[in-house]
Structure formats: structure tokens, C-alpha cells
Symmetry: C2
Subunit: 411 residues, 2 copies
């Protein structure tokens, strides 16, 4: 009889978000008059920029006539979008990325999840802890994680703890990994790496034959000059880094599904005969075999974000969420809480007060303030004792949340 991929059975059921949903649902049933404010899941609230909607509509109208109809597009994305990305997100910022090193996809989650396909099954993976669960789960499915230990760690994954004690800056590991996931500005902690801190990782990868999978989905929130928005701002990164980007949080494309992955020609991996293959070739082969490109109309919406109107509208959305982050930061500090992140980032990482566990603080916030956060322990062992709040709600709800927290927590 056909047998399953046993690695799937190793994955614990996704306890975190189902448990949150269960608790919130149960609370709302027993408190029907209370307005619960959701600051847990990282979904956005502002509608799409008008330019994006107009782009989608113009693209859809193309499809009404045989003369302008688009059938199958290139799996890597239409040239108009790849070029707009290359020009605006890289070359005009002085970063060397060619259009044909940009692979348009249906979102960073798919690209990050599928990227593990192109490497050997015994690849050693390193992740920061706490971490976005897709990095870990996709490698569990690929059979690289080993066994799940009692402390919630996987036996073959190298964890790089990021806590207040080390300023949320991961130390170089003693055991050398092959593939290193870094996400900056970070999800969930909202913290960043400076240019010199990121340079250490690029140098480490170059010295050790490792590849960095760099998730910069939140780069649009960076304001500090010393915080890189792309890993390719760092010398040598083109030899060792792949960069994943998303339109979800910059332009509200969470439901539209559009992102891209940059794979420079110089990034190599070893073959069994000692020769080297550019991983760009492998990713191209993976995508042309198992993917057929992002939707044409969605790509039209994405390209419209690079028009002058689109840029202004995106900047407006980012500014709006930044104000929320500032409101949260200052309000929570005034309430006596210790908070991290929130500058250069839409995420606020709250230290639980009075030694509460992540779940205890989650319950307290829900019961007392009617606010939903995400317990930090859900992102990995080093997230215990923290809770994540997002800046993606409305001004009104964010202000209300801050006011509730201040009135219940003020020391």
C-alpha cells in the first residue's frame, strides 16, 4: 500500500493559532457585548492602494480582447514587473540586482516553503529563535529536522537564541550550518540588525560555504540609515544570499498574493562530484516544473505600485502603520511594560510583566483588556516570556488598545 511521507507525522498539530482561535471564540461567546481588538495575526487592515486596484482592473480589461489577451506568462514573472522591481527596489538604491535574478511568485510563504526543495536532504539548517514557523516546518517536511525534543526544539536544527539578554542579536553558531534563515526587520521580535551586524553573518556564510535565506518582507518599515533594507547592501552578499520579499505588508497584498525572490548568479552549492551549481539554475528549474507564474492581473496590480501614484499610496500606508507602532511603543512603555521592536518594524515584542508565561499574559490581555496578541512561545522556546502585538490594526483600535492597557496595567 502507498505510504505517507513520515516527516509530516512528526509535525505537531498547529497548536498555536488553533488554541488562540479557541480561546478568543470561547471568550466572545461568553462576553457578547465586549469589543475584542485583534492584534495577533499579522494581517493588514487598510484597503489596497488605489493604484493597485486600477492596475488589476486595467489588466483584467486586457483579457477581454483577443488582441490584448495574455495566456501563459513566463513562470518567473512578466518583464514589466521584474524590471520595475529591479529598478526601484534595487538599482536606484545603488544595489546590483539584474532583472533575471528576480523570480516573481505568489507570495513569500510559497517561495520560502518551496525553496528547501533544491538542497540535499541532509542539509543542516539554522534558525533564529523565536522564528516564523514556515522556516522550520518546511524543513521538517523535507526530513532535515531530526526529532522533536521535549523542549520544543528539533534535534538536527541549529537554534540561534534572540532574547533581551543578547539584545536580540543572534551569535554565530559553534556548529556550522549549511542554510541560515535570517529575517530582518524580524518577525516576531520587531528587532533589526545593523549593517555591521549583518556583515558578520555574510562573512560567516562566505567563510563556511553556507547560504543565507534572507527574509526582508518588512523592509519598507526601515527608517534608520544604519539598518539595511536589503542584504545586498552588504559586500559579498551576492555570493551567499537569497532574498525573499513580499507585497503583503508594504501594499496590503495579503489576499492578492504576490512576492518575489532574488537569486544572484554568484550563489553556488556543491555537487556530489565536487563541482558547483549556481542555485539560480536549480530554482529556475523548480519553478518552471512546479509553478506557472503569478496571476497576470495580480502582476499588473503589483507593477502599478511602482508608478508615482502607487509609490505615494504605499508610503501613506506604511506611515499609517508606523504611527500605530509608535502609539503602541510609547503607550505600553507608559503602562510600565518593557517592549522591543516597533521602530523599523510593524511588530512590538512585549516582555510579559511579573514573570508571567506567554500564555498567562495572553489570557490576562484577553480577559482584562479584550486584546488578542500572539504568545511568544508559539514562535519557539526563546519566545517564552514574550508576546507579539502588531501595528496592522486601525488607528482607532490601536489607540483604544493602548488606552485599555494603560488603564489596567499602569503601575
Amino acid at each position: 500500500m502507498i505510504r505517507i511521507n513520515e516527516n509530516f507525522r512528526k509535525l505537531p498539530s498547529s497548536y498555536l493559532f488553533s488554541e488562540i482561535a479557541r480561546k478568543v471564540g470561547s471568550y466572545e461567546v461568553s462576553h457578547p457585548d465586549v469589543k475584542v481588538i485583534r492584534m495577533g495575526i499579522g494581517d493588514v487592515t487598510l484597503p489596497l492602494p488605489r493604484a493597485a486596484v486600477e492596475g488589476v482592473i486595467a489588466g483584467a480589461i486586457d483579457e477581454l480582447s483577443s488582441d490584448t489577451f495574455h495566456g501563459y506568462g513566463p513562470e518567473q514573472g512578466h518583464d514589466m514587473l521584474r524590471h520595475a522591481i529591479g529598478e526601484n527596489d534595487y538599482r536606484r538604491r545603488g544595489i546590483n540586482v539584474a532583472d533575471d535574478e528576480i523570480f516573481v511568485g505568489d507570495g513569500a510563504k510559497s517561495d520560502i516553503g518551496n525553496f528547501v526543495d533544491i538542497f540535499a536532504s541532509d542539509t543542516r539548517v539554522a534558525v533564529t529563535d523565536p522564528v516564523y514557523p514556515v522556516y522550520v516546518d518546511s524543513n521538517v517536511m523535507a526530513g532535515r529536522a531530526g526529532e522533536l525534543l521535549a523542549d520544543g526544539c528539533w534535534s538536527r536544527i541549529i537554534y540561534l537564541p534572540c532574547t533581551a539578554e543578547n539584545g536580540f542579536v543572534p551569535a554565530l553558531p559553534s556548529e556550522v550550518p549549511d542554510l541560515i534563515y535570517l529575517c530582518y526587520p524580524n518577525n516576531p521580535t520587531g528587532t533589526v540588525l545593523s549593517r555591521s551586524q549583518l556583515k558578520e553573518w555574510v562573512d560567516y556564510a562566505r567563510a563556511n560555504g553556507a547560504i543565507i535565506a534572507f527574509d526582508s518582507a518588512y523592509e519598507a518599515f526601515v527608517t534608520d540609515e544604519d539598518v539595511p533594507r536589503s542584504i545586498y547592501e552588504i559586500e559579498g552578499a551576492r555570493e551567499v544570499a537569497v532574498e525573499f520579499r513580499s507585497f503583503s505588508k508594504t501594499a496590503g497584498f495579503t489576499g492578492m498574493r504576490l512576492g518575489y525572490t532574488v537569486v544572484p548568479r554568484e550563489v553556488m552549492a556543491l555537487n556530489s562530484d565536487g563541482t558547483r551549481t549556481p542555485i539560480r539554475d536549480l530554482w529556475l528549474r523548480r519553478q518552471t516544473t512546479k509553478f506557472n507564474g503569478a496571476s497576470y492581473v495580480v502582476q499588473c496590480g503589483g507593477a502599478a505600485l511602482y508608478t508615482p501614484q502607487g509609490k505615494t499610496q504605499v508610503a501613506g500606508n506604511i506611515a499609517y502603520y508606523r504611527e500605530n507602532a509608535e502609539m503602541l511603543l510609547s503607550g505600553l512603555r507608559e503602562a510600565g511594560l518593557t517592549v522591543y521592536g516597533g521602530t523599523n518594524s510593524p511588530y512590538i515584542w512585549v516582555k510579559t510583566p511579573d514573570g508571567m508565561s506567554s500564555w498567562q499574559f495572553f489570557d490576562f490581555l484577553l480577559d482584562t483588556c479584550h486584546i488578542v496578541g500572539t504568545p511568544g512561545c508559539g514562535f519557539g522556546p526563546s519566545g517564552e516570556g514574550y508576546l507579539r502585538l502588531t501595528a496592522f490594526n486601525t488607528h482607532e483600535n490601536t489607540a483604544e488598545a493602548v488606552s485599555r492597557i494603560r488603564s489596567f496595567l499602569k503601575i
Copy 2:
């Protein structure tokens, strides 16, 4: 140093379509005044049904207001679309499929390619020969194909030859496979299985603990009462079959990217401890971990295909391509060629005349008739001696192609 997935290196470079593109490009450069008619790649030519475009536009306008904005949707698709599919494509035809057994995706190619993730790495795979290359290539990447032999076959794949000699009906294999790919109406041969022929395969899978991956991307072209449009018309199929569908060829969604996969609750695979897991749970886990749903606006376009206007427009497109297929069938027969498929299918499978090889006939058609087909050998060893033409061009080009073939080939 990080190492590659060596299975990727086993894949020969995609010779077929690059070689076609090279030959056509070179011919067009040396014959700039000749109008070349492309009937090779299976892309459509009619524009999108108006209902679909209106659906996309309405969906895009939703996204302009906070009150109607959709962020992250369910990874399995929005309920409105899953319900429309379940009602129209299954239950109203008397077929038992529940909405939550339908997984909406960004196209059949992605779903078929990714589906291999959920099974054991040593799964034995059977494919009909000739075959859609994605079934084979995705299993090569997953390390299940063994080695590429001199005859173009993979050592661990079980081939089921389909040729004129067996009426294009695959015989049950002597070696028992775990996973059997069947595509009916067939790509590339355009042939079909009757209800009783498909029943043999369902019974075989039930008797042998195998799963059938049934690709019914071309079901809309079926007219014969005795030809099943869904494998779930066959008794027992809910225990052993997964069905892949696409909006590409029915509604011209090749560039829109929308399809769905049906995974009934009853389909099981074996765990190492002898228990069984519903593969629906595994696919759900795969999709929630590595995919974030098809685009909302595209799903709105898809749902609009199930309105009365949408159904009429889709039926009009299918009728148009059917007329092309009939034109090709009768015209090619009048020219003295032996042809298969073309009824219940948009593909015409042409036996090469005078013992020509697939490539010789391809060259002949290009040089003499200025028509581009796809050499049958590109789909597998049993495709040698055949060439595929598609009915997806315009009436005008199809008529012109038939007229050219008749004047040059008429015996």
C-alpha cells in the same frame, strides 16, 4: 559547503520546447514573410469570458474600501468558490464531493507538482506513455525515478504504453505501483477511457492499495455519454482517487492561474506503524504550511464562471475549440493522415506519415506548411512516430492550417 538536491541534476535540460523555439525562431528569421501558425503549446487564444473579467473587477473594487477589504484568505480557497465548484461540477451531476474536500489552488501544474511531497520517498510511480512531463519531472526531483536510461525511461518509473496498437488504453502493469497518474481526456493523445475502462483502474487501485492521481483538466471537452468527466463517477473512486482540475482550458485562465484538487476523506495511505492517515490531512498540512491560497480577485473571477452568464460564455468557448478540433480531424483525414483524439478533447494526435520520426514530421510541417506542432517523442518513448496539434488556435488559423496541410499532403 551546502550541497544541492542531486536529483535536480538528473533531469535533462528541457530539450523539447527549447528545441522547438530554436527551430521556429531560426525558420522565422530566414523566412520573414511567412506566416507561421502555432499549434504546439497548449495555450488558448480566445479572451476571457466577460463574466470572469467582471468578477475580477468586482473583487478588485472590494479591496478599495476597509469595509469590504479581504486580507489573508483560507489557504484552501474562499467558501463561495469551493461551494460553487462543489455544487456545479459535482453534486448537480450526481457526484458526491463535499466542499471541504475541494482545495482551490493557483493551477493544476502547481498542485500536481506539489502533491508528490506527501508520500514516502520510495513511492513507486506509474505513468502512461506518452505523458505530461510534470508527472515524471516532479517525481525525479523527489528522488523516486531512479536513473535515466538510454531509451529515455527512468529505471524506477513504471511506464504504461499507449499507442495505436492498444487503442491508447493502458494495460494494467505487472509490477504494482503505489501512485498511478491518469489523465483523461488525455494530454497529449486526445484519447479517452470509457466508464468501464476507468473502472478497471479504480478496481485495480483498490485491490492493490494504490492511489490514482487523476488529471481531468480537459473534462469540459467531453461530449460522449460513456466517457466520464470525473473519476468520482466510478464506484469506489472516492477510496483511491485524487482529482486535479484547472480553469485554464475551460475558461482561458492560463494566465489567471486557478485550479482545484479534490481529495476525498476516504483516500488513505499507510504509516510506518501500520496505521493509516487520510491523505486529505496531509495535503491540508502541506498547503497551509507552504501556500497561502489563490488570489482573492482571481477566485472572484473563477466564481463568476458559475453564474448563468459565466456558464453560457464558457460553453461558447468550449464549442469554439471543439469546432477547431473537428476541422482538424476531418481535414487531416482528408489529407490522408491517420489521426487520433480530437473528439472529447482539444488535442489531435497525428501519426507521422511515411514512417517519419516525430522530429522529421515536425520539420516537414514547419518547412512546408509553416505549422508548429509538438513532436510526440517529447512526451515519452511511446510518443515517437506521432505529433500533437492543438485546437486552441483561432478558427481562421485552424482553417488555414488545414488548407495548407491538405494542399501539401493530399495523396
